[in-house]
Symmetry: C2
Subunit: 251 residues, 2 copies
């Protein structure tokens, strides 16, 4: 590949995902949104609420990828340790941010409740705020690490405010076609097509629908000319195999 690719890593922080109590949906949303902004998620990690694990994962991801997005662990309870860990990862102090604290104080509460809520105002020294249009406490960013809430609706609100603030490359486009064919029936010509278009990623994903085996073929890349040409080649081999290609989406 000659093009410059902007990469990202997603860190999903939370025991509840690893125990199976909660089905994560944040990775999927972040991946789709970043794709539109020309940023590709190259890895995701789900890690527990354990300080040394979070600190190590943040440091490694920050070094290896252009952007890091974390979800979870920024609430007011004892198990919310993400902000502390991000500060440790960057070797800076954690301090109450006046803008977040002001927002939290708008809603009155007894002293000890307010004290718990104000935990959410603590951000690493030098952090920028990520706005939160739900009205709750803001998220924050430091270096190339963007720290967001775990509740999907709040995370989505925070992520949406980053539009236009991140340096992405050309957006990744896709072409998809499905056919009621086993993958094996077209495996050889598919491999040949992939070899002819090194800039386009051709994925083959089997499915079972109404008791029949089928395959989704997904082409992803930034060059729409190559994408369209590859799509025609893929449709041809489906027809040669005796089936009808169904184009299902175009992104």
């Amino acid at each position: 590949m000659t093009e410059q690719i902007t990469t990202a890593c997603v860190l999903v922080i939370g025991n509840e995902i690893l125990t199976g109590r909660t089905q994560d949906t944040n990775l999927n949303h972040i991946a789709r949104q970043l794709n539109e902004w020309g940023i590709r998620v190259r890895e995701a990690r789900v890690i527990p609420d354990v300080e040394e694990i979070i600190v190590a994962a943040v440091r490694e991801a920050s070094r290896r990828f252009d952007y890091v997005f974390t979800t979870g662990g920024i609430g007011p309870t004892h198990d919310d340790i993400t902000a502390d860990c991000i500060a440790s990862a960057f070797n800076v102090e954690l301090a109450e941010h006046p803008e977040i604290a002001a927002r939290i104080r708008q809603r009155e509460a007894p002293l000890d409740v307010m004290a718990a809520r104000l935990r959410m105002a603590r951000v690493p020294h030098g952090a920028r705020l990520i706005d939160n249009s739900t009205g709750g406490p803001q998220g924050f960013a430091i270096g190339n690490v963007y720290v967001m809430a775990g509740i999907p609706s709040v995370m989505q609100a925070m992520l949406s405010t980053l539009e236009g603030q991140l340096d992405g490359g050309a957006p990744v486009r896709s072409r998809s076609v499905t056919a009621f064919l086993g993958e094996s029936q077209i495996a050889r010509p598919l491999g040949e097509i992939q070899a002819r278009y090194p800039n386009i990623d051709l994925g083959s994903y089997p499915f079972v629908r109404d008791g029949r085996y089928g395959t989704s073929l997904v082409m992803r890349g930034t060059d729409t000319g190559d994408l369209d040409a590859m799509l025609e080649d893929v449709k041809s081999i489906i027809i040669e195999a005796g089936e009808s290609p169904r184009e299902i989406e175009s992104g």
Copy 2:
């Protein structure tokens, strides 16, 4: 903690998860199933279909965790490289396994289709088979790494055959209670309760339902006596905060 904990890592292999095309559900299923078997998922990683990344992730996970479970990348097409990568990670050759090949040959096919299908019979030297009750090609295990399909129904069939074959500890039990309280309202006493029961993991998970904020409190551990005692303490602080605790599950 004085108890011996059996740990696992899940490696979700596949570009389709990282692009957001597919919502992963395999991690959630594996985590729940392993919990029942007394094995705790301590980390999960979603990685692309790239050889050096898969090889490095498998080696690291195999070293750090008691068990590793992979999903995806064992089909018949050019982008299915998991078996090759596992062989590389263990420095062994990949060879056609007669039992898998026999199963594949039961369904007749033209020569080149059969050649593609037989890719799925290749396993690292010394691998044990993981049966596949859907009738498709088997998965395999080598060392502490268990290699399964990416299609959820097939992965679930493979995983279920491992029942009784893995060395787990005491199964992790849980107690859960919800209340229409903001997390902050009980953050301080919750932290105190957590400190009193170091063997039990107390998680606090906020939610929004019917426009109201609520919190789920989940206790997880192997000692049911401690779990029940902690549950009573948590219910007490909810009542003290003026709300009604709702017990929602018991595992």
